[in-house]
Homo-oligomer: 182 residues x 2
């Protein structure tokens, strides 16, 4: 029954295929296998607005493509062509033997994607997994991520295992540090 | 910028090293790399007790070793030597630019492990990642998981992407189906 621990075994076999995939007309194709990517965090009903998401309940799960995750471990920041996926899930309460708290249901309420390609970040919103057009630069997500993201336009302050790496590698953004770093 | 989608790329390179690892005196060594495993679900303050976890707030994240996850995709149930890890995380609220809801913090409050080895399931509890002794069979976790787990002693009813596979493969447990399947 005894086995040796095998470290660093999960570098994907097809790392050369990582990175965003586009349709002929420039839409982003959401990755089919993101649930096999590296999990970064989950949150419940988070909102950056004082109003909150009135009447809405959902979990967010964030995943990143494995070779980009491996790069972050080395550098404390994201490589070119990183893809992050935020999946929204329904919230269950009293069901089966659960009596308290909140769990995730089979209802996927959409996915959002954040891609760095050609040095620029882009957001995409795909309600049901269909190829998505780039959200225009005027959208608030761009300025908010630029001004408040802990590392290069991303909310690493909410990704527990990455935040400490960024601190060690001194890759925290000036805007984040100016706000007191948390 | 166009790339082909590469399916099924994440089978780990070191699949032969999967499975539980024990110390010479029979304690289970918690895997160091479980955050690179397959994410199954996250929940907030779940409790099977009518009392709840009074005064405690935490997220649970559940991960499974990748080759066991791949096996579940094919069979709808767990292979011998599967290892599942439940990680408990602290809960943050108003911090950085967040105004509502709950996010996961850097505080890891412990991990629990569930292992099938030699045909039997075992639970382990490791507060800070140290090797852990097997929890005795008299503990309530064993009878509860046996009686209410949707698939072979595990709470697949709370793992959204696995539940639909178990339904298709007809691997839901008699106890779960008798309770109405949810």
């Amino acid at each position: 029954m005894k086995r040796m621990l095998a470290a660093a075994c999960l570098i994907p076999l097809c790392a050369s295929a990582a990175g965003p995939v586009y349709t002929a007309d420039g839409k982003l194709v959401p990755p089919a296998d993101y649930r096999q990517w590296i999990f970064l965090t989950s949150s419940l009903d988070m909102s950056y607005s004082l109003m909150g998401n009135v009447g809405m309940h959902m979990f967010d799960n964030v995943f990143v493509e494995p070779s980009a995750w491996a790069s972050f471990q080395q550098t404390g920041t994201w490589p070119e062509q990183v893809v992050l996926v935020k999946e929204m899930r329904g919230v269950g309460g009293k069901s089966s033997i659960n009596r308290h708290g909140s769990f995730q249901t089979s209802e996927r309420m959409g996915i959002e994607l954040h891609v760095k390609d050609g040095g620029n970040w882009s957001f995409y919103d795909s309600a049901s997994g269909e190829p998505a057009s780039r959200i225009p630069d005027a959208a608030a997500c761009y300025s908010c991520h630029h001004d408040h993201g802990a590392v290069d336009n991303t909310f690493v302050q909410f990704y527990p295992t990455l935040l400490e790496i960024a601190e060690k590698k001194h890759t925290l953004s000036p805007g984040y540090l100016k706000e007191g770093g948390g």
